[in-house]
Symmetry: C2
Subunit: 458 residues, 2 copies
Amino acid sequence: MDWIADYFAHPERYPVLSQVKPGDIRSALPAEAPEHGEAFSAILSDFERLIVPGVTHWNHPGFFAYFAITGSAPGVLAEFLSAALNAQGMLWRTSPSVTELEEVALGWLRRLMGLPDLFEGVIYDTASISSLHALATAREAAVDRVRTAGMPGRPELPRYRVYCSDQAHSSIDKAVILLGLGHDALWKIPSDAEFRMRADELDLAIAEDRRAGIVPMAVVATVGTTSTTSVDPVEAIVAICERERIWLHVDCAYAGSAAIVPECRYILNGVERADSMVVNPHKWLFTPFDLSAFYCRRMDLLRQAFSLTPEYLKTTEAGAVKNLMDTGVQLGRRFRALKLWMILRYFGAEGIRARLSEHMRLARLFAGWVDGDPDFERLAPVPFSVVCFRARPRGKDWSEAGLETLNQRLLDAMNATGEVFLSHTKLNGRFTLRLAVGNLRTEERHVARAWELAKTLL
Amino acid sequence: MDWIADYFAHPERYPVLSQVKPGDIRSALPAEAPEHGEAFSAILSDFERLIVPGVTHWNHPGFFAYFAITGSAPGVLAEFLSAALNAQGMLWRTSPSVTELEEVALGWLRRLMGLPDLFEGVIYDTASISSLHALATAREAAVDRVRTAGMPGRPELPRYRVYCSDQAHSSIDKAVILLGLGHDALWKIPSDAEFRMRADELDLAIAEDRRAGIVPMAVVATVGTTSTTSVDPVEAIVAICERERIWLHVDCAYAGSAAIVPECRYILNGVERADSMVVNPHKWLFTPFDLSAFYCRRMDLLRQAFSLTPEYLKTTEAGAVKNLMDTGVQLGRRFRALKLWMILRYFGAEGIRARLSEHMRLARLFAGWVDGDPDFERLAPVPFSVVCFRARPRGKDWSEAGLETLNQRLLDAMNATGEVFLSHTKLNGRFTLRLAVGNLRTEERHVARAWELAKTLL
């Protein structure tokens, strides 16, 4: 407890990106478990001495990589309580609070985002699993008797197609592979100059597939893509899906929380007509990893795809209560709703809006510095809290390869300081630095320091 | 912290099975998140007042339902540290300690169980996900180009078959459905009088399928089935799988830990020749939920099925390091290895052996009481720490329906006391009570009290 309080007070005493070499941690530890038990104090001391140096500090205010996240204090305490209770939510009776608090907390979040109540929610571990369930339900709707008869050895079945943009997250690729549709069944629709799916191209692709006898199964739109946080035109996409009767899943894993801020409410326009959506409170809602909130208008179909009750799990309340095990492939469920409930209460709607707005202000500030500097260029719009940019020093005729070398070197130099950690992406083949703001401890001075480092290390 | 210390000192002050009615928790809570933030003390007080009454106490020494489990103190503290660090293990660099400590802790567990080092391990959340990955890898091996081309719309593909016993866990059913093979592709081999898969029946089923042009894809054997903890004859099964070149996955989710006890080492005989196995430290190794350890001899094939690196996750160490995201469908990974490492050190091999042996002694003791009482009967052998039994009062010619009513009433009466919580199953159509020992706090007096209640409430 003391260690944690001290750590939370000063996470910046550690380098943000761990400086160990591959194998350092492993080789510092014995190959066999001890024969005799040890005191917890000895274990904790080894934790500090051997394990902490190999930790990349996601709590550091200079963590600007991927999507910067925060496990806030009320969330961490809730995880502690949840681990102590060790309640397992597979059935209502194995802890009624797990099932019912999940319903309540997801209802709160749904209303904060302005999503209608006809979306039923369920908590999974990750967006990978949420989107997997979305596409599994789309498959249940599209493929006759898939639950019992499966897909191989059925010559009567056509090929199917799932569509997403070329900016969609890799979890969609993995879901399509796992579901047995094959990676070729995933069609990546080109995006426009601002990295948003082109609805006209989606329309064309669907028409072309239908002509070729390929059956469209699902479209995955993204609100807040991973590279640039671009927002697909969900209203145009949902109109196509409604007309064509295709399942629409919207991946709002990172940006969905932003809909709590009134100026960003528009980002979910059209999502109320989608079949399912996912938002991850562990990304931009101060929740310790892991907690993915999945909302679906056809949870009955999801249950039809997966519910299956062996005798040893039958209960006498059946019918009157919801059993979480019916809503997916994982039987066991941690008590994750506790942290979401505590966090929403601790910050309140007001506190969440203020913090998300501040993160967006810091990102716009950084973007302004980039725009105003002739040696740098911005490579994408900044709708939320992520800035895509690169160095392009004036006075030289740069090749793409030269810019990649220069920016990779700049990125490595910035990360080697231990003061900041940024990650990269590629946009239209251009090597791009990403500055992602999302940590509760990040203040203007940290963003300013990142900019200073970028300029001085160039 | 104080609340948890107090709770751990006296979990038996609460009824083990929550006594709330459906809807009680939900209706005690507002439908909207608060506008203004609240003090943590107010939230904690509501937690005690509103949430705890709806918790079924898995920590209670009278918890004898399903598989009784324990989140031990070092495990709970490790979860607290893990939540505080909020480290995400998708890539080696996002916290080298997450990747490398996972390798070390899984190596310790593998050696404690006597499994050869050629099994590579990975930590997932649940056995449902572990077994899903096992069968996905078996599919990768069996179905030509399944990753890219998928299965529908390919008339050249045959039907496939997965085999398990009629006692196997429902997660196998769900995995087969999710993978798109269809529930009909799962063939349940009859078990013998002691609930073990009949290897001769497996042999016949495979031969018959081959004659019908159905391709055997995988066999799932179980060491410690859910209803009776029976152990399938893995040596006979693995011989068949080797001869027929079929993937063998062994579900040791509950009982695998028992192999740490020398007298139980035999239960994994043959597993060293299997392709994959799963054991859940969150079941019988004092680990707070969730932590499932998956071991595989063909992790290369699993990576071939799933690895996929978008640009924004490419790192310069690639090749030299292992990135956990390549080993499965979930991109994000919690720092779960920390609790396994701390638990193995805290108890030591000796401490684990002593506690598991004691649980098995208590189960045998209870079984002896059942066997010695003319009003009760035991319905399955007791290889580990679960006793299957029922009341069958002498002097009456019972029908099965009459015995079911009697025993359901007895079960409800025992659970209504709040002192114990047992669950049930059906064995050959017979309604069966299960007493599962697995909690660190369970002593002989608690098992004796369960027996006393069974006798007095009959």
